[in-house]
Amino acid sequence: MNRSALPTLITLMLVCALLAVACGPAAPSGPATAASPTRPVEFVISTEPGGGSDIYARFIQGVIEKNKLSPQPFLAVNKPGGAGAVAFQYVFEKKGDMHYTMITLNSFFTTLIGQKLPFQYTDFTPIANLALDPFFLWVNEDAPWKTAGDFTAAAKANALTVTGTGSKQEDEVLFSLIQAKSGAKPFKYVPQSGGGAVAAALAGKQADATVNNPSEGLSFYQASPRKLRPICTFANSSPTAGPYKDLPTCKSQGLDVGIEYFIMRSVMGPPGLTPEQVKFHVDLLKKVYDSTEWRDFAEKNVLDLKFLAGADFQKFLDDYNKLHLDVMKQAGWIQ
């Protein structure tokens, strides 16, 4: 279910009305260069409304509108389905058109590697990475395990039930890494449709462990009585502030998966954008990244802020593609 002409119109009218009320008659105007959009930009989301990516995309859209960062509005559009494949196909077909960008996460690798699709990750134009979302190892508050060592000892003794978002996507990738590195018995992996459902399943004791992001488990962690316990983070350093301050790293507790694993929160464009067009989007996202709203959002959701563009971003993408390729081969999901 998605945008149609009418609600877009309603949105625009409402935005205009609210802008007029809030900021007086000054209409937003940007420099009209050849490499800036001449009509609204579709910001494509590969998940259902309300999913992780959806929150990011709509937040970014809100920041752009609130601070009048773009001469043309950004409109978030959901193209869910096929673990991202539907959205990728949609944007792939908009070759050279800067009026389309999409927010991507690790399904950008896992789906493109795992599915036979008529394009690969190098076909898309990289724009920028805005944040890295760390993974924690979570158990139910009533579980006896206090450290990663306790957990792996239990996982070696019995086949534990674990749960995560999607099948053969980032959560299962990480569990597969944990199993390979710790010598645990193969996990019984139960796929869910989203991070919220994953956290609820653990809180309701339908599973023994999850690798939720910090924000996904936060409400259960802060509930009283507390329902979920984060054991450790798969990042290389402990959080230095916020609700999870000083949470130990999994590495320091003897659970070393070999790499620092994150969910990327990146923006990609369709194939064949010119350097000037890319520059427009990069500059725009840098302004979003520098806004106080984005800083506050990142702090509340315990995100690692990391702006990457250009060659740095390309290297990051190449590294992550290789990482997923290796893990998925090892797990026997692909030949």
Binding site: M1, N2, R3, S4, A5, L6, P7, I10, T11, L14, V15, L18, L19, E48, P49, G50, D54, I55, R58, G62, V63, E65, L75, A76, V77, N78, P80, G81, G82, A83, A85, V86, Q89, G114, P118, T161, G166, S167, Q169, K188, V190, P191, S193, G196, A197, A199, A200, A201, A203, G204, Q206, L218, S219, Q222, A223, S224, E293, D296, F297, K300
Partner: protein
Amino acid sequence: MDTFAHLALGFQVALQPFNLLMLFFGVALGLVIGVLPGLGGTSGVAILLPVTVFVPPTSAVIFLCGIYWGALFGGVVTTILFNIPGEPWSVALLFDGFPLAKQKGRPGLALSSSFVASFVGALVATVLFTFFAVLLADWALAFGPPELFAVFLLAFATLTGLESGSPLKSIAMIGLGLLLASIGFDTVTGAPRLTFGRSELLGGIGFVPVTIGLFGIGELLASAEEQGTLSFQGLAARVGLTDVLDSIKALRDRIWLVLGTTLVGFWIGVLPGTGATPASFLAYGLARSWSKDKEDFGKGEISGIMAPQSSADAAGVGSILPMIALGVPGSPTAAVIMAGLFIWGLQPGPQLFITNPDFVWGLIASIYLGQLLTFTICILGVPLLASIMRVPYAIMTPFIVVISILGSYSLSNSMTDVWITLIFGLVGFWLRKQRYPMAPLVVAIVLGDSMEKVLRQSLIMSDASLTIFFTRPIALVTMIAAIGLFALPVMQGLRRRRLPSRQAA
């Protein structure tokens, strides 16, 4: 008593002029969104979400929830008048809503019955929300995949045997529905199924374009073949207050049924990841199983309108509850509203009741006001809406075709859904002629996907042992009820078959 003090605070917040204005805007927009088929409450809320960064969080959430309430009520209009579901949760209303409007010529009664039921469902659900929010949300966590599977099975049990006729044809339709539901990306293994290499099919076939085709277009083709003899002529002789009064009378006769389906709907809504659509189907099935006159269902029985509609609205309110109390949305629309909470910098969860009481209680108070407002607008609109049915058939038909096609296009801005609608329009026409029952097909498409997912999740948890459904207490009780309901019609059928033969002898 504490709750009353909080609620008083909430009403102070919700009654502020600006918040009232936002509520009114939200409800009005929601009604428009609900009336337009295809464009759902979920997408309506999602589209308007970024706009809310301009207003305080409490006003924003009141606005977004207002859209949801409006859409919950408004979805019935095209369903009842044109046989085109305005929203996913109004699909269950096709079975009796349109027959009452068309065959019995009482569109006003059908509309006001659904509005009255909506209002009762929403009101009871809001009271439950007010007093038991955190407690109920906690209970819902005990519902894992095995329990959800048992609930879906119960829904299936109550809904099979819908529309009397050949049981073999019913089974064929269920099979076709399950087959269609399995198209697309398999969430458990991650493999594409039945997509024939086409990326359009990776996302699966949505049940809304299918039902728009089967019912909306299929009905038009059937009417056209009958040269409009069964069409909208001579309808709506009585329009006005009588319909509203009749619906209130009908509600009084069915108050226990409506309260029962409201409770069921509310509970389904509270469970994570279900929402108003399965709630409305289960309620329809339950109303039919509880009824003495099963034959009346599908022919414009008012219980078949009131049960799903009260349940859907109660589920809508209920789905907001785990979102606020736990941070786990109970429906797709609630998931979008939760995205809003994150954007406004609020962390949903029990501590929200302590850290932001004006937000939580302002929202709860606004649910009361929003439902009252929506109900008032809808009831006042009944005569006007019902008079649409007086428009000559020749003018109505192209209009309905346009609405159907626009509706399915706007689902995801894609021609794929339009083709699906048109193809299933033809399929629906043919099935009607061959006297295949439509309802089992729709039920299987709507519930098949979710049911398959929870079944397979359960089997992963239990190492493929079916005992998991009989060793957990809640699942066990629900399974027994479901199996009993499956067995009942079979046994009745056997007895009925034996009786006539004895009489003959």
